[in-house]
């Protein structure tokens, strides 16, 4: 798997999402809970805006000086016995990891949840190198057994219900108990414990690397990243190059923002910072440690108007408030990065050609801007993407083009507009729902397929104004 998921065209993916009732209900309820949790934490602090401001300043400074801090980080990891590999591309990163695997003659690799390894398609590369890969995050493990891509960056199996999970466990692992989440989780614990103990190599992502000391930090609730970093003798961390803080003091602020914004917790059960190899006399932790720092298209965003997209700390707060994500779910985006941040990042990392529809998967309501803990201007960046797609790339989505054409023809002829504006109030009535037209006829169809068109007022502005002048009733 790489960043792009599935081959179905955008429209089909959206349709599939919209028709999946369980998924839509699950997403709606999850969004509600995530949102409430985040809001509660923000309210409790009382000065959340100050926290966001600080988060934003830290990210800005770090990205402005990313070369300086990456140098410091790599020096410090190296000082503590770790090997550091800078990978320009996904291929370079995968090849480096493959070589480690081959040198170790590793048969089993156990992983903790990591978006960047999904992005570069590391699992396939590991399998090519002859290793079995076990995903150890509960959600990821479920998806791995079922060969299904993630639909949310924090709770990847959000689109599955417990009956489906029970069925998967039964078919793939001979599970014969109930579909109670506790029993399912206990089964996963027992199965995965064996994998942790027998794995030759552990692979993690990285939430934040601390430049000043070379510490790589993992934020989890299940404890799987602790397992992966405590048990196998060889350990590899793969980090997107921007997942970096200058010192431990900034680690505090960004971790606090991440756990609150992501899951409404003051801290998750485990925040674990590992530095290099285990020290003399220590009996757990890796004796061989590798850090792979991945660019894979990120550097092209530096120095552009989209630089702030690299401030993202992967909390999914924007996803959890997005009304479009709520309706279509994660898979519809066709990228491992869904929701507003996915719609901004995917075209930048994976190219406009593959992801040109995503900036349109937004109602431009701006809710994402309000919740982002590091104040990324997602809303503005989505609009800018659309401009680029239409004006520079000449690849506006077909539906958009058609709708615009029909609308333009209709609205630009004064006679047609005058006539139909009056007629519209009556004619469009059957398609109006509340104040919006949701399934318009003729030239409006292209438009309303992807958005609602405001229903004409019962009275035209002209006749309303006339009446008002006469002292008539104003609405």
């Amino acid at each position: 798997m790489s960043m792009k998921i599935g081959h179905a065209p955008y429209k089909e993916r959206v349709q599939e999402g919209v028709e999946n009732d369980f998924m839509r209900q699950a997403v709606a309820s999850a969004q509600g809970r995530f949102r409430d949790g985040r809001q509660k934490q923000a309210d409790e602090l009382g000065n959340w805006e100050d926290w966001r401001q600080l988060g934003s300043e830290i990210r800005t400074h770090t990205l402005e000086n990313i070369d300086y801090y990456l140098q410091m980080l790599s020096d410090n990891v190296s000082k503590r016995g770790g090997k550091v590999f800078f990978a320009q591309t996904a291929e370079e990163a995968n090849e480096y990891v493959q070589n480690v695997i081959k040198k170790k003659n590793a048969k089993k690799v156990v992983k903790s949840k990591s978006m960047v390894t999904e992005e570069i398609g590391l699992n396939e590369a590991l399998q090519e190198a002859g290793a079995d890969v076990v995903e150890s995050d509960l959600g990821e493990w479920i998806l791995q057994l079922d060969e299904d891509p993630p639909s949310h960056i924090v709770t990847p199996a959000l689109h599955k219900n417990k009956e489906q999970i029970r069925e998967t466990f039964a078919q793939k692992r001979g599970y014969d108990k109930s579909d109670s989440p506790e029993e399912l989780a206990l089964f996963a614990r027992e199965q995965l414990r064996q994998d942790f103990l027998s794995a030759d190599v552990g692979i993690t992502g990285c939430n934040f690397a601390v430049a000043e000391s070379g510490a790589i930090t993992f934020v989890t609730n299940e404890g799987n990243a602790r397992m992966v970093t405590s048990l196998p003798d060889t350990q590899i961390s793969v980090m997107g190059m921007e997942r970096l803080v200058p010192t431990w003091e900034e680690l505090d602020v960004l971790t606090s923002l991440l756990t609150r914004a992501a899951v409404g917790q003051k801290l998750t059960s485990y925040v674990t910072s590992i530095t290099g190899t285990r020290l003399e006399g220590e009996t757990d932790g890796p004796e061989e440690y590798h850090l792979v720092i991945v660019d894979n298209g990120r550097s092209k965003i530096l120095g552009t108007e989209f630089q702030e997209a690299l401030h993202c700390i992967r909390c999914a707060a924007c996803i959890n408030v997005c009304p479009v994500y709520r309706q279509v779910g994660g898979h519809a985006y066709g990228s491992i990065y869904p929701g507003p941040i996915g719609a901004v990042l995917s075209p930048l990392l994976g190219g406009y050609e593959e992801h040109k529809e995503l900036p349109y998967a937004s109602s431009l309501c701006g809710a994402c801007n309000e919740v982002c803990p590091v104040k990324i201007p997602l809303h503005e960046q989505l609009i800018r993407h659309r401009q680029i797609i239409v004006e520079e790339k000449g690849m506006a989505p077909k539906a958009e083009k058609l709708a615009m054409k029909g609308f333009a023809a209709w609205a630009s002829s004064p006679a047609a507009y005058k006539m139909s504006a009056a007629a519209a109030r009556t004619a469009l009535k059957p398609w109006s729902k509340d104040e919006n037209i949701t399934n318009g006829p003729g030239p409006l169809k292209g438009w309303t397929e992807s958005r609602d068109f405001p229903a004409p007022a019962k009275q035209s502005f002209r006749s309303w104004f006339k009446e008002r002048q006469k002292g008539g009733v104003a609405k």
Binding site: N47, Q88, P156, N161, E212, D252, L279
Partner: protein, 238 residues
């Protein structure tokens, strides 16, 4: 070679930022706001204990409080409550300070299997921890706001003790309690400036492990311990 491809990689970043590579002289700016220092400012040590106790309810962790004289009794009750037949414990100098060597010895004599983490025993440490019912460590720094024990893992306090057993007990000297993560990371930052190496693993542990990956239901106890108890000990330092 322990660092590969660095120069070409970082030169490219600098080029994209439209400037020369920065290898020195970068200073963190003075941030315009520092809200992290406002949390629980001015609270007494006892008030911080109350905050910690309050938050234990949220993180599914049992909270107990005692003094040095009562520690053995409370520890025994907690181990019994977890039906602990086998116990693995960290082995730093605090065992001696709190008289736990004798305590574990007497527990052992009564039939509980006891393993004190011992660097000379290598793998055996992990093997015991993996099948142990209870893991016990002291907290190095305790964060009142989030209910977190901070562990500087080392050869006396292996990572596995607080991770592999079914249940976990943290002994929290009252003097280790601070408002929040800010104070812990500040200390690590300052030590680092002084040239002291940070532990190979710093574990911030907040209650038992959990997951919400199945239909957003909270499941307590996934890969790490299924239950956790904190025992705050009044250690007469205020």
């Amino acid at each position: 070679m322990t660092i590969q491809n660095r120069d070409s990689f970082l030169d490219n970043l600098a080029a994209n930022l439209g400037r020369n590579r920065r290898t020195e002289g970068v200073k963190r700016p003075k941030w315009s706001v520092q809200p992290q220092y406002e949390v629980f400012t001015g609270l007494s040590q006892d008030e911080l204990v109350e905050k910690l106790e309050e938050h234990c309810k949220v993180i599914h962790t049992e909270f107990k409080r005692t003094d040095r004289d009562g520690l053995h009794k409370v520890l025994k009750e907690t181990i019994d409550g977890f039906e602990g037949k086998s116990v693995v414990s960290a082995s730093d100098e605090r065992l001696q300070q709190y008289g736990l060597n004798d305590f574990y010895k007497s527990l052992g004599e009564k039939g509980t299997e006891i393993h004190l983490w011992d660097e000379s025993k290598g793998e055996e440490n992990k093997v015991f921890a993996e099948r142990a019912d209870v893991g016990i460590t002291f907290s190095d720094i305790t964060l009142a706001e989030s209910g977190t024990v901070t562990l500087f893992n080392n050869k006396y306090n292996g990572r596995s003790i607080s991770l592999l057993p079914k249940t976990y007990i943290a002994i929290i000297p009252k003097s280790t309690i601070v408002p929040r993560m800010t104070q812990a990371t500040k200390l690590i930052h300052e030590r680092n400036l002084e040239g002291q190496d940070v532990s190979s693993c710093v574990s911030f542990v907040t209650g038992p492990s959990n997951s919400a990956d199945i239909e957003m239901n909270l499941i307590v106890g996934v890969h790490g311990p299924i239950k956790a108890t904190y025992i705050v000990v009044d250690d007469e330092i205020n």
